[in-house]
């Protein structure tokens, strides 16, 4: 797509996104939370986080359920928010809260994409981003988690704003076993990266999140080859190759180390060269069951079952 066409398309999407009344409003505590996440950890106050978590009863209850998932590594489920914050750490509770907010911002109705599949992919990618950045010794793995969680919000915009066209794209992708963004481009002329960017901008998300949402399929295009975008790109690919994809067979061969994003990340983190990708993949497999459980806890109402398997990821 040349730049004039791209600008026109982006303007059109932004127009549609703005004019739609059903567009999810940003959860009240979302932005203050993201702001807290951007502060240096020693500047964040315990009470502030507890207050934000407790702001909405439903969300607070959800947070406690999620905090008891084995994926977050607690031996015993915390029974109040303050205890959760103390035992899990401020940052972790913030990301849990954000995860719950996301679930509430997009209620499930008539999705073109299976909601369960979508959340499993998003949450899976969030976890992988976080673990990956921990392995690299990156400073802020919770931010990586957020970027992973939000990277595909454009799909939700497409479900709500362009339901017909998007449904066609989804079924074409599954029929032809091609990546969803290729089908989106062919059917709609744009992808969830553009519509996700429109939503992220209308929500006033910070620049690094917007970039991760807009460029996770072409990280090399991101103005400054940004390690966070590269990380999301690689984690997304890995998830799609390991039972955390879009729910259909993608006829793809993925060579992560030969991907341009790998070079971007390697430049920033020399430790990437020493990461055992095969073992990382096996560890990801172990987390799939836990992620499914978490998805039903957060996004599938109270029916969610938490399994105590798969503790190590």
């Amino acid at each position: 797509m040349n730049s004039t066409v791209a600008t026109a398309v982006n303007a059109r999407i932004r127009e549609r996104v703005r004019s739609i009344e059903t567009l999810p409003t940003i959860p009240t505590v979302f932005l203050p939370l993201l702001d807290l996440l951007n502060l240096p950890p020693d500047k964040v106050k315990l009470d502030e986080v507890v207050k934000l978590v407790s702001y909405d009863n439903t969300i607070a209850a959800q947070c406690l359920r999620v905090a008891s998932s084995p994926l977050f590594g607690l031996a015993k489920a915390p029974d109040n928010i303050k205890l959760a914050v103390i035992s899990l750490g401020l940052r972790r509770v913030q990301t849990i809260l954000l995860t719950c907010c996301m679930g509430n911002a997009f209620p499930v109705k008539n999705w073109a994409l299976d909601a369960n599949v979508f959340w499993k992919h998003s949450l899976g990618c969030a976890m992988v981003c976080q673990k990956f950045s921990e392995k690299l010794g990156a400073a802020d793995s919770e931010k990586a988690y957020m970027a992973g969680l939000l990277h595909d919000i454009g799909f939700l915009v497409n479900c709500m704003v362009f339901p017909k066209e998007f449904a066609t794209a989804v079924s074409e992708a599954a029929k032809q076993h091609i990546p969803l963004y290729d089908a989106e481009r062919a059917v709609m002329g744009f992808t969830h990266c553009e519509s996700g960017r429109a939503l992220a901008e209308s929500w006033n998300l910070r620049d690094d999140m917007v970039k991760a949402i807009a460029h996770h399929h072409d990280p090399e295009r991101s103005e400054t080859a940004c390690p966070l975008v590269a990380l999301v790109h690689l984690s997304d690919l890995l998830c799609r190759m390991r039972a955390l994809g879009y729910g259909y067979y993608e006829r793809q061969k993925v060579d992560l180390a030969a991907d341009p994003a790998w070079a971007v990340l390697l430049k920033e983190y020399r430790s990437l060269a020493g990461v055992d990708l095969v073992r990382f993949t096996f560890e990801l497999d172990e987390a799939v069951e836990g992620i499914s459980g978490l998805v039903s806890t957060i996004f599938g109402g109270a029916a969610g079952k938490n399994s105590r398997e798969g503790v190590s990821f």
């Binding site: 690919l237 390991r242 061969k253 060579d255 180390a257 055992d276 073992r279 096996f282 560890e283 497999d285």
Partner: protein, 302 residues
């Protein structure tokens, strides 16, 4: 390394328990991975525990911690690890062991190889099942290739070389007779299409399938024999290298790399890793499957 299927039936299958696992077993899991490349994930950890418990009983060790000493201290170390590896890979062999691997093979890899070889006059696909044990993998590959012989591989010659160190295994493989346990994952369609009934409990592979395969005895450490296995498009070597020490493993893997055509693929077992023993192969992911790729010349990635 081929006793697995014979003993499998005699061992009661251990079941998952909800009791927390002694942390020493996770240590053992990591040790096994470091030495052999076999990773027992959380959901398969109970198999590792059961294997260790059998060894603990045989050695009359007092507890898992004492067994850890057997695994780490000389002189018992190497022998004991081998024993444990035997225990935990028991019963792993069967036909259609890894459907995602077969799917990747038929949906992604074959179209790629056929595309690259399209200009060659002789259309020939060569596969090596290295450490074929009693033939389960070799026949699975042969049947799947036969399925493609009217489609993607129309007009192609398919050759499968299946080798193992153990004479007895090679003979069993040649017979191609399998019971329910080995056939537990084989789809009914394949059972009907490619097998003959021997008796109530056993099926034998049809001659049409056998024709594709040459079974023979081969020692992977025999360098001169290894040099003859050239021109392979695909090499499968499942749960065999786990018994080799580092240097011999490296040597065998180098042979595999040399024996593969450019653009060819090397497969290990589904929970097995090459560790970091070779940096010429590219690790590639397919949905649900991992392989090692020798880049094609035109990809410029060598």
């Amino acid at each position: 390394m081929t006793t697995a299927t014979q003993t499998a039936k005699t061992i009661a299958s251990p079941s998952k328990s909800s009791e927390p696992v002694d942390p020493v077993y996770r240590q053992i899991r990591d040790l096994v991975y470091k030495v052999s490349g076999i990773y027992k994930s959380e959901e398969k950890l109970y198999l590792l525990v059961a294997g260790c418990e059998r060894r603990i009983k045989q050695l009359a060790a007092k507890n898992p911690r004492e067994y850890w000493d057997h695994l780490t201290a000389q002189p018992s170390r190497d022998g004991e690890l081998r024993q444990l590896l035997n225990e935990i890979t028991i019963g792993e062999t069967c036909l259609f062991r890894s459907p995602p691997q077969l799917e990747a093979l038929r949906k992604v890899i074959l179209p790629e190889i056929v595309g690259e070889k399209t200009k060659q006059i002789t259309k020939r696909l060569r596969i090596w099942s290295a450490g074929c044990s009693t033939g389960e993998e070799s026949y699975t590959l042969a049947m799947n290739m036969l399925e493609e012989s009217t489609l993607l591989l129309k007009g192609w010659t398919i050759e499968i070389a299946a080798t193992d160190l153990n004479d007895h295994s090679v003979e069993t493989a040649k017979a191609g007779i399998y019971g329910e346990y080995a056939l537990r994952s084989t789809p009914d369609y394949f059972k009907r299409r490619y097998f003959l009934k021997v008796d109530e409990k056993k099926l034998q592979v049809q001659p049409e399938v056998k024709k594709l395969i040459t079974f023979s005895r081969l020692n992977l450490q025999d360098d001169s024999r290894m040099l003859f296995m050239k021109g392979m498009d695909l090499i499968f070597c499942c749960n065999v290298l786990i018994y080799f020490d580092g240097p011999s493993k490296s040597k065998v893997i180098n042979h595999y790399f040399t024996n593969l055509n450019f653009g060819g693929y090397f497969f290990l077992g589904t929970s097995e890793s090459l560790l970091n023993l070779n940096d010429k192969f590219h690790l590639v992911h397919f949905p649900g499957a991992i392989a090692y790729w020798k880049p094609s010349l035109k990809s410029g990635q060598l």
